[in-house]
């Protein structure tokens, strides 16, 4: 276990060294992230000023939802996308050997390969939106709600990883699927809306088979609704299931992998 922690620390260090080496790059992408935060706000403001409510959320609740969405952008874009983005090309060009021959678990290596620190404004922006939403609600979440929020956000990250990694393993079963890393990020954009906008059939799908309607909505609702421990257990079960499915698809898929003299 210590070895894995040390390697994770090294990967973080390497990513940070990259940032320091290519500073202009870092500054540029930080500005792009700030741009997207503003665009999200403009989009949601334009939408909510015209339709007043989204599902059963009012303006303040939608802004809290947006804040949670931006907070989770950090693990999605700053960690998972950065690492997973290399996977399809590594497989189609036969470079996965680099990971398979190392004395560490290959899933761990492909999952924690790279981090982006230019997504940092999303954390600040996300917290800012949450504070703004709470101030508009004129209500302060109590300590239990805050603990529930932190707990469910961690479970949500675990679930996101499970879903994202499971989709990424599909590259092992096809010849070339270089754009697969974008599937989850596109689904993630849909996760900022409450499940009530969907019909019953899609609600069932988006809360169980492809649980994107839970990953942002439930942590956000933890800040303005009573803690629902049952949903916490449900999300935890889903997270465990998706991670197990991802692991199974990965190990089975690796049996099909053949290198190309890299």
């Amino acid at each position: 276990m210590n070895r894995y922690i040390r390697v994770l620390y090294k990967c973080l260090q390497l990513s940070w060294m990259k940032v320091m080496e290519y500073r202009v790059n870092f500054i540029t992408w930080t500005i792009v992230d700030i741009g997207w935060i503003l665009m999200d706000f403009v989009f949601i403001s334009a939408l909510i000023s015209n339709i007043k409510m989204i599902g059963n959320w009012n303006q303040a609740q939608v802004i809290i939802g947006l804040g949670t969405f931006r907070l989770l952008v950090f693990p999605v874009w700053g960690w998972m996308f950065q690492s997973f983005n290399y996977l399809p090309k590594s497989i189609s060009e036969g470079k996965l050997d680099m990971y398979l021959t190392k004395p560490l678990d290959a899933q761990f290596l492909v999952s924690f390969r790279e981090f982006s620190f230019s997504i940092f404004p999303s954390i600040v922006g996300g917290l800012g939106f949450i504070v703004l939403g709470i101030s508009q609600l004129e209500y302060l979440p109590n300590i239990i709600q805050l603990i529930f929020f932190v707990g469910i956000t961690i479970v949500s990250i675990f679930l996101i990883y499970g879903i994202y990694f499971s989709t990424m393993t599909l590259v092992l079963y096809t010849d070339r699927l270089n754009n697969i890393a974008n599937i989850f990020t596109s689904l993630y954009d849909a996760s900022r809306f409450p499940k009530e906008i969907y019909g019953i059939f899609l609600q069932r799908i988006f809360t169980s088979i492809i649980p994107i309607a839970l990953i942002v909505v439930i942590p956000a609702e933890a800040l303005f609704l009573k803690p629902n421990w049952l949903i916490w257990v449900w999300m935890l079960m889903l997270a465990i299931t998706f991670n197990l499915v991802g692991r199974y698809l990965w190990t089975e898929g690796l049996k099909r992998y053949s290198s190309a003299s890299s």
């Binding site: 290519y22 202009v24 790059n25 540029t28 992408w29 500005i31 792009v32 741009g35 997207w36 665009m39 403009v42 989009f43 334009a46 939408l47 000023s49 015209n50 339709i51 007043k52 409510m53 989204i54 599902g55 096809t174 010849d175 070339r176 699927l177 270089n178 754009n179 697969i180 974008n182 599937i183 596109s186 689904l187 954009d189 849909a190 809306f193 009530e196 906008i197 969907y198 019909g199 899609l202």
Partner: protein, 263 residues
């Protein structure tokens, strides 16, 4: 011309060879449509918007997707990478126009997308909304087709200029994000322009982005007087010319600046 026809044929073969990627592109484009469509339907169910407005918004979302399929370009990312690592040299040294190659490439991808994907989208959306909102008259259809052709070229030259930026600085990819932001906000790719404040609508009408989504969709769902149509077509053609001249100007300077080793 034979050379470019050959490029089209090669690209066509690629679209068939990499069907998996085509399906992924389809899913990527369907996701925003599915959630936005559900949002409009839910608003209608809760009585917050009328059936007519819901029909109009759903049609808008569907047409946005069709237009994106027909006129968007996706070469900026890989051309920027090729310029940065010097592998663009192999394209610059060959006896064909690189711009023409890109154009042939993109056109084929657009046509393939149209053939494979648009019929599938028709299954996904309630057709009754479309039928009640889109009113096609020959003359107006012609207006929309001209706008789509001009916006195809406008978007091509904008993307091409973005790639040219890579000759000067490494971080040119950020301009792609800027393009997405502008086409979302000023072009009406995310929401109808009517959702935004008046000042933004005025600014939007002064940019080429206005011709990318807002105007073609307006042309499909509401009548536009012929005098206005002529003005819009003229302005759109002017934008194409302006962007072409600008891209030529930048291209010449970029190639003078370019150097590569070992490719």
């Amino acid at each position: 011309m034979r050379k470019y026809w050959a490029f089209c044929k090669i690209t066509w073969q690629q679209t068939i060879a990499y069907r998996g990627e085509s399906i992924v592109w389809f899913i990527l484009e369907a996701i925003p449509m599915v959630y936005m469509m559900n949002l409009w339907i839910s608003l209608q169910k809760f009585g917050r918007i009328s059936t007519d407005t819901a029909g109009w918004l759903i049609t808008y979302q569907f047409l946005t997707l069709c237009i994106a399929r027909l006129t968007a370009h996706h070469f900026d990312d890989w051309v920027i990478d090729d310029i940065k690592d010097g592998s663009i040299s192999k394209n610059l040294l060959k006896p064909f126009s690189f711009k023409g190659y890109l154009m042939a490439n993109e056109l084929t991808w657009r046509i393939s997308g149209l053939i494979y994907l648009i019929p599938t989208f028709l299954v996904l959306i309630p057709v009754r909304y479309l039928l009640s909102t889109v009113h096609l008259q020959f003359q107006q259809l012609l207006f929309v087709i001209i706008l789509l052709i001009t916006s195809f070229f406008q978007r091509f030259f904008v993307s091409y200029m973005i790639t040219l930026a890579a000759y000067w600085f490494d971080q040119a990819s950020f301009l792609i994000h800027l393009k997405w932001m502008f086409e979302g906000m000023f072009g009406g790719a995310w929401l109808p322009i009517e959702f935004f404040p008046m000042w933004l609508r005025i600014v939007s009408s002064m940019t080429p982005f206005y011709f990318w989504f807002t105007l073609p969709i307006r042309g499909l769902i509401q009548p536009i007087p012929i005098s206005e149509q002529l003005i819009y077509v003229s302005v759109s053609i002017l934008w194409v010319l302006l962007l072409y001249v600008l891209s030529r100007f930048l291209e010449k300077r970029a190639l003078l600046k370019y150097s590569a080793t070992g490719n």
